[in-house]
């Protein structure tokens, strides 16, 4: 099951109006067979760049993140529905990051070029393009007859 995160930028509005908007968003998720795991408020602040949505230019927004599960087929419909919501300035759905950790490869990357694995692979790939050399198959390292 893939857990998604829905990043939403709402236009700045008074609290009761915001509550109804949030409820509307949540109900859209439920109507597509979704489950909400978490709702985060990232605050109301200036957007780093102005955004034009529904014919209005916005410079401030309320940031909210819904963490939810939904059937993958419904993602497209959800984005389509949020696009038509006039209170939403911007919406993005991302997959939740997995917390697994890999070993650091910086040491191998700082080796001189011939010792790096990526370079060795490149050389091996280039050797494949070499023209085949004729071999006499005599088992001798010299030509036994007169040329």
């Amino acid at each position: 099951m893939i857990t998604h995160e829905l990043m939403l930028l709402y236009r700045v509005m008074p609290k009761p109006e915001l509550v109804t908007t949030l409820k509307r968003t949540a109900e859209t998720l439920f109507s597509r067979g979704g489950i909400i795991r978490k709702l985060e408020n990232l605050g109301t602040r200036d957007i780093p760049f102005k955004i034009s949505a529904h014919g209005v230019v916005y410079k401030q927004a309320s940031y909210y993140v819904f963490t939810f599960n939904v059937p993958p087929i419904a993602i497209k419909d959800l984005l389509d529905e949020f696009e038509r919501d006039v209170d939403i300035i911007r919406r993005k759905i991302f997959k939740q990051n997995s917390p697994e950790f890999k070993e650091c490869t910086l040491h191998e990357e700082l080796q001189p070029a011939p010792y790096r694995k990526s370079v060795q692979e490149l050389i091996a790939q280039a050797r494949k393009l070499d023209k085949p050399k004729f071999n006499y198959n005599t088992g001798l390292d010299y030509y036994p007859f007169q040329k």
Binding site: P48, A61, K92, K102, C104, L106
Partner: protein
């Protein structure tokens, strides 16, 4: 004989032609008089780790303060691997998360936001590991 004498005189007096280290490495049971180098490389360097792997940090698009440390304060450009000193995996992760943050309106694109300008520097952007054409 004559040329040998000249050679010797050219050598500085402190130079030792034969060091006792060689004798230490030679095995007594080895009759062929060839040194046995079965010890580990004593000059092996310590394994280096990038700053994010050292502190077990997983970059996330919501952590804009961390991500903006990899952004140029002059142009908003994301610094490359040869400047940030990250491993390939972490650099790719950072770049992906920055792109996600910028798309979702959390992070500036053409500048580093003024509130992050005074943050501590993770690397010296003036001294890249490899030379580059963005001086």
């Amino acid at each position: 004989m004559f040329s040998y004498a000249i050679l010797r005189s050219k050598l500085p007096s402190t130079t030792r032609l034969w060091t006792p280290m060689v004798r230490l490495l030679t095995s007594t049971s080895n009759s062929t008089n060839v040194p046995l180098f079965d010890m580990e490389n004593p000059f092996e360097k310590e394994k280096r780790k990038c700053i994010l792997c050292q502190h077990n940090v997983i970059p996330n698009y919501k952590n804009v303060k961390l991500l903006s440390q990899f952004q140029s304060p002059y142009t908003g450009r994301i610094y490359g691997k040869h400047i940030t000193g990250l491993c390939a995996e972490k650099q790719a992760q950072v770049e992906l998360e920055i792109s996600k943050a910028q798309k979702s309106g959390l992070m500036a694109v053409y500048l580093k936001e003024p509130c992050f300008i005074k943050d501590p520097k993770l690397f010296d952007s003036e001294n890249p590991i490899r030379p580059h054409r963005f001086e």
